[in-house]
Symmetry: none
Amino acid sequence: MTKTVQLTTLHWDAALTVARAALVKAQELGIRVAVAVMDRGGNLLAFARDPNAPFHSSTIAQDKATTSAGFGLPTKQWWPVLEGMNSPGLLAGIAAVPRMVVFGGGVPVYVNGECVAGVGVSGGSEEEDEICARAGLAAAGLVAEPGKS
Amino acid sequence: MTKTVQLTTLHWDAALTVARAALVKAQELGIRVAVAVMDRGGNLLAFARDPNAPFHSSTIAQDKATTSAGFGLPTKQWWPVLEGMNSPGLLAGIAAVPRMVVFGGGVPVYVNGECVAGVGVSGGSEEEDEICARAGLAAAGLVAEPGKS
Amino acid sequence: MTKTVQLTTLHWDAALTVARAALVKAQELGIRVAVAVMDRGGNLLAFARDPNAPFHSSTIAQDKATTSAGFGLPTKQWWPVLEGMNSPGLLAGIAAVPRMVVFGGGVPVYVNGECVAGVGVSGGSEEEDEICARAGLAAAGLVAEPGKS
Amino acid sequence: MTKTVQLTTLHWDAALTVARAALVKAQELGIRVAVAVMDRGGNLLAFARDPNAPFHSSTIAQDKATTSAGFGLPTKQWWPVLEGMNSPGLLAGIAAVPRMVVFGGGVPVYVNGECVAGVGVSGGSEEEDEICARAGLAAAGLVAEPGKS
């Protein structure tokens, strides 16, 4: 009987590097954001927030990161898929799942083809938030797709 | 390294003046409401509730105030913007964010062009709620737009 | 069969008067507090907070008010009673009941011998907090004991 | 009527420097911890966690930081003060306040004599946790007492 399962998660120093680089990028873009790095168990690994970021951005950043870490996908991929189903009920139902985000700004973190964490940014537009999240990954030598590292 | 950031918040006496004037206006309109004044960190500054206001109005008033304080916008502006994006997924997703309200009745508080707090009223129609919130601001010599004070 | 029960609660304008007068007294004493007026159902009637009050004072003020409204007693009366029982287990158990406070700073509100609400103040010493709560009551012509109005 | 109040909070880059240095110190001590930097409104500014830290350390670190930021005191000062009062009721009551911690590991952050935030560490002994928190402050040129900067 196989007794154990190996999981891979992100080191705290890499997570902090992601958080800091995302906020540096936000500063360049002139936006005020929160950034969260979450593990696949929905627990926070690293976080940083501009004191002038909108209040809700802290929660949204954590939920984007959790959604990306959990499904191994950028959060922006959810809503076209759901809309394509042409089912407003399903759409609203999925959107209302606690800690689930179906719009852009969260990306997964892959190492050796394995999803090990997620990064979420909130406070700018969806596109700006994702730019910050990806800048965070790049600074730590991480990627958001399974085939690239 | 820059160590600190200066923030401006609302004095308790101004917040209480807002709360009282909003309830006086509600009485004139014949509606039963709760009114909340929240700071930009999502913490309550002042609150008042008609004992006959609907139970949920306390929470909704606080969430409207938090949403307005956080984004510096009246809550009623969210729904048309989101509908204009023609994206039911984004609409449902934003509407499901904890402590976020995407319908009318909350307005931000600006002093010298800076958003320092938010006011939320719940218990009447969206239009009535916003009338009460703005009556509260007027009584304290406050405004809901950045360019007016 | 008796079908209904009459309850008496506090008017919002009286509750706001209590809140404001408590904060004025706190300012005289040089302390930074939060004050809450709660009904007997554990729902907020009025609230005000000095932005420099300790973070926890908002919750403690509400819980003191709820405890006083629920039992019709000043919160400071709880702990000598519990200590007199010489039962550390009971003491810790009661102290851990959610939204229950066993130290001073909350007083009930009586009208015509009936407990109609509670007032809680937090941010100063227990004695200072109770002084503020009672100053709030006095300003609204209310009393904290059944036999006095 | 005074309309506004000025508050000072901590810059995100200083907060991240605190978090990283606290984890570096924990690594030197051979302990696995979480570290949180919270503002005075109970909102997270920065966070980092060793993936092998005990599960509860994330919450405890945030609550220690909130308690220190709110009262402007190291969390370890609460327990002897409460014990000195010789009142088990008060002790149990204070210990049960939500998001309040009455044991060591949290320290306030002072800048120019003003409390602007709090740092909390959890995962080691109380002494070890406080050593990590203070190492975090030192790395960012911050102090834990009002008279030192």
